[in-house]
């Protein structure tokens, strides 16, 4: 899970979930705490989906 996807692609990560921003990849301080948690839930749900998905090459899980 990373914000700068090109770096993850360069270093060879195989399952990549794009995140929010460098200083707060899994949060967004401009939102309320509950809204932030929703974002985190959504991103982590996507990460779990990525782990459950067969991939044959580097894959970015945008949605």
């Amino acid at each position: 899970m990373c914000t700068i996807v090109p770096i993850s692609l360069t270093v060879g990560a195989n399952r990549i979930v794009p995140t929010i921003a460098i200083p707060h990849p899994l949060g967004n301080p401009s939102l309320t705490l509950e809204e932030e948690k929703n974002i985190r839930r959504e991103l982590l749900t996507r990460a779990l989906k990525a782990l459950e998905t067969e991939v044959s090459e580097q894959t970015v899980f945008e949605k």
């Binding site: 195989n14 990849p25 899994l26 301080p29 985190r40 839930r41 982590l44 990460a47 782990l51």
Partner: protein
């Protein structure tokens, strides 16, 4: 006069090709094959007193014995210098040249030199142990190879100072050598940029490390039964950074017990990471290491469990070599602890 012993394979000795690759080592007086070109380049400064010929298959299949025999052969001629190859892109020959040159250097304590193509497996194996001149990938590059090998060989034999790899033409061996550039950095950078914009060749002064690729692991069959671990390069550590992980160019990682920890707070955790504004991560470290939501998922049965330990380092300017070494170490622990999947978060 500098005395040189030269090592070549059956092919360059004109003994034969693959069908003769099994022949054991033998000594010939004087020079042979590529030795002629080397001798010519040495002029009167050095003399190839003997040439050792060995089949590539023989050497690689009987390496210990071959090395012992050849060292004895070399010793008899009391050389000041030992040269092997060049091997170009011939894999077994490259490994033989590297192995025998290193053995001669270690056992007889004389300077050694070989040459090969940078992708020859022998190059990766021996470039940090001995000087290996970078050659083209086929024997068509013999002239070019000799032109670089002969002067470097003489320098080595005379004990002269060896310059940087880019000056002398050997494969970079991980050692830094200081030298003065003719042009200042600004001019070199602009020249490089202009060459790039014009699709011309240019030589970077800061090559990127070779990032390796690994085949993707199979998917998790049932994530609701999986034990998931968290690993981060975002520098999340217990408050006070007990392991003193550096804010940049980290030399270590930490392993932290989160048994019973449901939420990372400002009072209990922080980031050790430099290079990004740490305010948001310090106020709520879950923004980097999402323990709170994974605990929720654990409770709801969306995952099997969250692993008791998480691993953290700082990714800011950290050497790839260090990062790789960290992961090699803690990956073994993760496997031993029965972890099924890892979520890595990075800032």
């Amino acid at each position: 006069m500098i005395r040189v012993v030269h090592y070549i394979n059956q092919f360059f000795a004109n003994v034969g090709g693959e069908e003769m690759a099994h022949i054991p080592a033998e000594v010939r007086e004087g020079m042979l094959g590529p030795g002629l070109a080397l001798q010519q380049a040495f002029k009167d400064e050095a003399e190839i007193v003997a040439t050792i010929v060995c089949g590539d298959s023989y050497f690689n299949e009987n390496m210990d014995e071959a090395k012992k025999t050849i060292i004895e052969m070399v010793k008899k001629y009391e050389p000041d210098l030992f040269i092997a190859g060049p091997a170009f892109n011939a894999g077994r020959y490259g490994v033989a040249c590297g192995a025998i040159a290193k053995a001669v250097k270690d056992e007889l304590n004389i300077p050694v030199l070989t040459g090969m193509f940078e992708e020859n497996p022998g190059a990766e194996m021996f470039k940090n142990d001995i000087y290996i001149v970078a050659t083209k990938n086929s024997a068509a590059g013999m002239r070019d190879a000799v032109k670089k090998m002969a002067p470097l060989a003489l320098k080595l034999a005379k004990g002269e100072k060896i310059g940087a790899s880019i000056e002398e033409g050997y494969l970079p061996n991980g050692k830094r050598v200081n030298f003065f550039e003719k042009e200042i950095g600004a001019k070199r950078a602009v020249d490089m940029l202009l060459a790039k914009l014009n699709n011309k060749e240019f030589q970077t002064e800061f090559p990127m490390p070779d990032f390796d690729r690994v085949a993707p692991n199979p998917a998790i069959k049932d994530i609701t039964k999986a034990k998931i671990a968290l690993v981060t390069s975002g520098g999340i550590v217990p408050k006070g950074n007990p392991d003193h992980i550096e804010s940049s160019s980290a030399s270590k990682y930490g392993k932290y017990d989160i048994d019973g920890v449901m939420d990372l707070t400002e009072e209990t955790y922080q980031t050790a990471h430099g290079g990004y504004d740490p305010v948001y991560a310090n106020l709520d470290p879950d923004r980097v290491l999402p323990v709170d939501i994974l605990r929720e998922f654990e409770k709801e049965g969306k995952i099997g469990s969250l692993h008791r330990y998480y691993y953290a380092t700082v990714g800011n300017g950290t050497a790839v070599k260090n990062a790789k070494a960290f992961a090699e170490k803690f990956s073994k622990e993760l496997v031993a602890d029965g972890v099924d999947a890892v979520i890595l978060t990075s800032t």
